[in-house]
């Protein structure tokens, strides 16, 4: 179909074609996701074995400060490490949610 042919198409047909294209792409991505998840399983097993071997407790996400490197191991008063007015000034402090012990009982 040439440019003239495309011009003759109703706008609704173009829209439906585009929407179908987007839906097909989305379906393709969902298939891609499930394939990737299957392919990643042995990798997760290797990483879990590494966690066991090194006895790791945290992901290496924020290396900017020692207390942000291992969020699950930090002491209970971390945001106020040095004094009550020593507010958390590392950017990752804005990404980590309030510690669970502040929002619920520790071991309920």
């Amino acid at each position: 179909m040439g440019v003239t042919g495309l011009m003759k198409l109703r706008r609704s047909t173009i829209y439906l074609g585009m929407t179908s294209g987007l839906m097909l792409t989305l379906a393709g991505l969902l298939l891609h996701a499930s394939g990737q998840r299957r392919a990643a399983e042995p990798g997760f097993a290797r990483k879990a074995a590494l966690v066991r071997q090194v006895e790791l407790t945290d992901l290496c996400l924020f290396t900017e400060a020692s207390y942000t490197r291992n969020p699950s191991m930090t002491d209970l008063s971390t945001p106020f490490q040095d004094s009550p007015l020593s507010l958390d000034h590392f950017p990752s402090g804005g990404l980590i949610g309030p510690p669970t012990h502040l929002t619920r009982n520790q071991r309920d």
Binding site: L22, L59, C60
Partner: protein, 358 residues
Amino acid sequence: MRRKGKNGALLLVYTLVIFVLASVLFFTYALKREAALVLKDAPEIIVQRSQTGRFHPIPVAWGESIGKINGVISVRPRLWGYQYDSVFQANYTLSVPAENAPPTGSIDIGSGIAKIRDASPDDIIAFTGHDGFPRSFTIREILSDESQLLTSDLILLSEEDYRDFSGLPADQAIDLALRVRNPREYATIAEKITRLHPDTRPILRSEILRTYDALFGWRSGLLIVIFSAAALAFVIFAWDKATGLSAEERKEIGILKAIGWETSDILMMKFWEGSVVSLTAFLAGIILAYAHVFLTSSPLFAPVLKGWSTLYPAFRLTPFLDFGQISALFFLTVVPYTVTTIVPSWRAAIIDPDSVMR
């Protein structure tokens, strides 16, 4: 569709808002799932000691009394810590692994360190110890690239090297790692430990996993800003639609009614018009977000996550998708938008066409 410029701009902004929201949802969910999958084998209980409210090394001998508690299979002193490299201004994590530790004089390093120090296996690398004197180590192995999200900044070394490097006395450890057989006993064992040593703080594996659930939770600072901005954008969209139609649009509806269109036909047309914009924006936003998070390494989030870190893991997340979140996004964006386009049109459509056109 009429008013190409206005609707085109609207579509663009709408797509952008969905893209940002979906990227955040995809990224945080995939990261949380990944954390849960790899940290499921973390020690069941970690026992820390605190003195005057601060984290403090724990006597290794305490492991004996804790090991006698019913249900505890093993207690191992964990030796780990941090090392600041003033040359590269990077923080490293030192750790003595439970199994397969490098021989004395050798270390295994994470690929992040290898990259910034341009190091490869068999190279000699030096770090300044606790006494200010440098210690040289031969690199035995670079930890796999695949595990960067866990090991990028890691230095694995032998216990002997660790103690010499850090100056930690032989009778002390950083904390104790406990293996416990029955998950139902975790809380009881933790209680017994705090009764035995009141200045300890047992951290359960479930608490470690909960930490990563709270990470990027909607209550965390940055995300609440992003979500509020998106909510505000939708309020503006809805406000624009709900405050009524332009004179031109009202006239258009009047003409359609005058040539015989029913109110229901007009509502149907407006419904489809709203759906065209919102559905296209939704699909395009979701597809772009997927490509951003799972086909690349989330380049837009990297500067935020890096913060002030010099050493940052390069990782690509496995596409775990939460369909509940995607459908919530759909119902919180597409449906309200479509509804708000219909209401003012309905108000215009029930007025006498003659007065609308006048």
